[in-house]
């Protein structure tokens, strides 16, 4: 081509997660059509940003996260994480994932759970335990290194899961309704701690939630999805000042954004019915 093309974006401002025209169809039982869980989804997540996916159950939020983490392969479209395919990013331990279930193997003490990814990578014991203790401080679990998972509360287990996901210093932290099973007070606290961790580590976060308030409180961008088929209908920019506080929720600007998100969600429901 003779035309001069724009120079490729420098790595510094290239998106950490880039989802291009991704569709995913779950194969149906014998002969049935199959379920289109994602339909031409496009999304890019800038380095260091906090992006939330929100939408009703079944709109494909988990499916999208699983594709980014190479737990599922898209039917069509491409995804890159840090400029490479999800599989390469995963093998390079560039992806951290926090599920709704903390999924801490019950036979590992908390510190051993936190450093599991480092152990799998072959980091020697002294180095990984030093890093593990640092991470446990970061998530407020100091003193619980030798506890068994069943001795901890749900909120503390989820902190350990977050520490574990951060242990390899991933490029992106994927979180699938991580606080969905917690009570409101614990959830508020963990929201603030997650905001602080995001601030402190600068990690890029792609966060799934059912709660528009949680999404607005934490995010730079809120991505609204609708089901059947799963699509992105709207991306709301959240320009609220940082650091965010729980009191941010009393601001008019916050409430306007929540209203806007709710309108968008309701529209999605109306269209889907």
């Amino acid at each position: 081509m003779a035309e001069p093309r724009p120079a490729p974006a420098s790595p510094a401002d290239a998106p950490v997660v880039d989802v291009r025209d991704v569709s995913l169809v779950y194969a149906g039982d014998r002969g049935s059509a199959g379920l289109r869980a994602l339909d031409h989804v496009r999304l890019s997540v800038a380095k260091g940003s906090f992006v939330s996916l929100i939408g009703p159950s079944g709109c494909g939020k988990s499916t999208l996260l699983r594709i980014v983490a190479d737990l599922l392969a898209p039917t069509a479209g491409t995804v890159t994480v840090g400029g490479v395919a999800p599989k390469a990013a995963r093998l390079a331990r560039q992806i951290g994932f926090v599920f709704q279930d903390p999924a801490l193997p019950e036979w590992r003490r908390i510190l051993d759970n936190v450093v599991l990814p480092l152990e799998l990578r072959g980091v020697d014991r002294a180095a990984r335990e030093a890093r593990g203790r640092e991470l446990m401080r970061l998530v407020g679990l100091e003193g619980f290194e030798r506890a068994w998972p069943r001795q901890l509360s749900g909120g503390m287990r989820q902190r350990a899961a977050i520490a574990r996901a951060l242990s390899t210093e991933p490029r992106v932290l994927l979180m699938d309704e991580p606080f969905g099973a917690l009570d409101q007070i614990t959830r508020d606290r963990l929201n603030m701690e997650l905001a602080a961790i995001h601030e402190e580590t600068g990690v890029t976060v792609l966060f799934v939630t059912h709660s528009i308030r949680e999404a607005v409180l934490l995010s730079d961008k809120v991505v609204v999805m609708t089901p059947r088929p799963g699509r992105i209908t709207r991306v709301i920019d959240v320009a609220l000042a940082r650091p965010r506080k729980l009191a941010t929720r009393d601001d008019d600007a916050f409430q306007d954004l929540v209203r806007e998100g709710n309108r968008e969600l309701e529209r999605g429901y109306a269209d889907a019915l």
């Binding site: 983490a69 190479d70 737990l71 995963r90 093998l91 390079a92 331990r93 992806i95 951290g96 994932f97 599920f99 279930d101 999924a103 193997p105 019950e106 036979w107 590992r108 599991l116 990814p117 152990e119 799998l120 990578r121 003193g143 619980f144 290194e145 030798r146 506890a147 068994w148 998972p149 069943r150 001795q151 574990r164 390899t168």
Partner: protein
């Protein structure tokens, strides 16, 4: 700092006493009633020897009886180890190969229901009159519980934990040793505890069929001579080696899976 369950900190005696006294009281009451009933109703010794008579029968030749018990225990433990190990290997193969599992499972389950009294004579014909045939019987009996429990255990891992391992780029060997095997351990111990009982019973039944040593042999010969106190002593010793063996496995379990819910302190 809840780094250990609080109960661990208490002195051992305070911790064990509440666990130990109820069975001791039960024991004393039962032996007392037994002795009392035999004296009061003047029960003939071949029907029910008194505890004192059984005690005397034991002390008449304690080392011989314990020697026989040692042989039975050796047969039981050898078969237990061999059969459990082989069963664990087959169970692992089943867990990794659905075709293999489907092909063999019906026969494994069928073989598991064969009564030991039916299989023991056949195995003794095959393996001869020595210890080997007794060990073969206990190996056979220990094989199936471990095969079934190992397979079930290896399949019982948490799917989300599997996803965590996948995202952390675990190798297949790491998945096996750091995830599926630890998840399987509680099942493995269920199988091992079944095998403790099976292998002691198996060894004694095999000795019953043919032997010149072992508790099964003692029970057989004392029965023929109607030496009932000695038969009772042999029976009690066989129960004691079973309990000892079981306690050993329970101790290993405690050390191997202290994290498991079944290992909580009794309330």
């Amino acid at each position: 700092m809840p780094s250990e369950p609080a109960a661990i900190a208490r002195p051992p005696l305070a911790r064990w006493f509440p666990l130990v006294w109820p069975p001791i009281v039960t024991f004393v009451v039962i032996v007392g009633l037994w002795q009392g009933a035999v004296s009061f109703f003047e029960i003939p010794v071949y029907v029910l020897p008194s505890p004192v008579r059984v005690w005397q029968a034991f002390w008449a030749a304690p080392t011989t009886l314990l020697g026989h018990a040692g042989i039975t225990l050796f047969e039981a433990m050898s078969g237990f180890v061999l059969g459990s190990a082989l069963g664990a290997l087959l169970g692992t193969a089943f867990a990794y190969s659905p075709v293999l599992a489907r092909g063999f499972m019906p026969y494994v389950i069928a073989a598991n229901t064969i009564p030991v009294v039916a299989i023991a004579p056949i195995i003794i014909i095959w393996f001869g009159h020595g210890l080997a045939s007794k060990i073969a019987v206990t190996t056979f009996l220990s094989f199936f519980p471990l095969a079934l429990n190992m397979m079930k255990g290896l399949q019982s891992y948490d799917r989300v934990v599997m996803d965590v391992f996948h995202v952390a780029a675990a190798t297949p060997a790491q998945r096996f040793f750091k995830m599926r095997l630890p998840s399987a351990l509680p099942y493995v111990f269920v199988g091992l505890k079944i095998n403790v009982t099976f292998s002691v019973i198996g060894a004694i039944v095999a000795e019953f069929v043919q032997a010149d040593r072992g508790l099964g042999f003692v029970i057989m010969t004392t029965y023929r001579m109607l030496a009932m106190p000695r038969l009772w002593a042999a029976m009690i010793v066989s129960a004691l080696i079973g309990i000892l063996f079981f306690a050993l496995i329970a101790l290993i379990e405690r050390l191997a899976i202290p994290w498991h819910a079944s290992m909580r302190e009794p309330q």
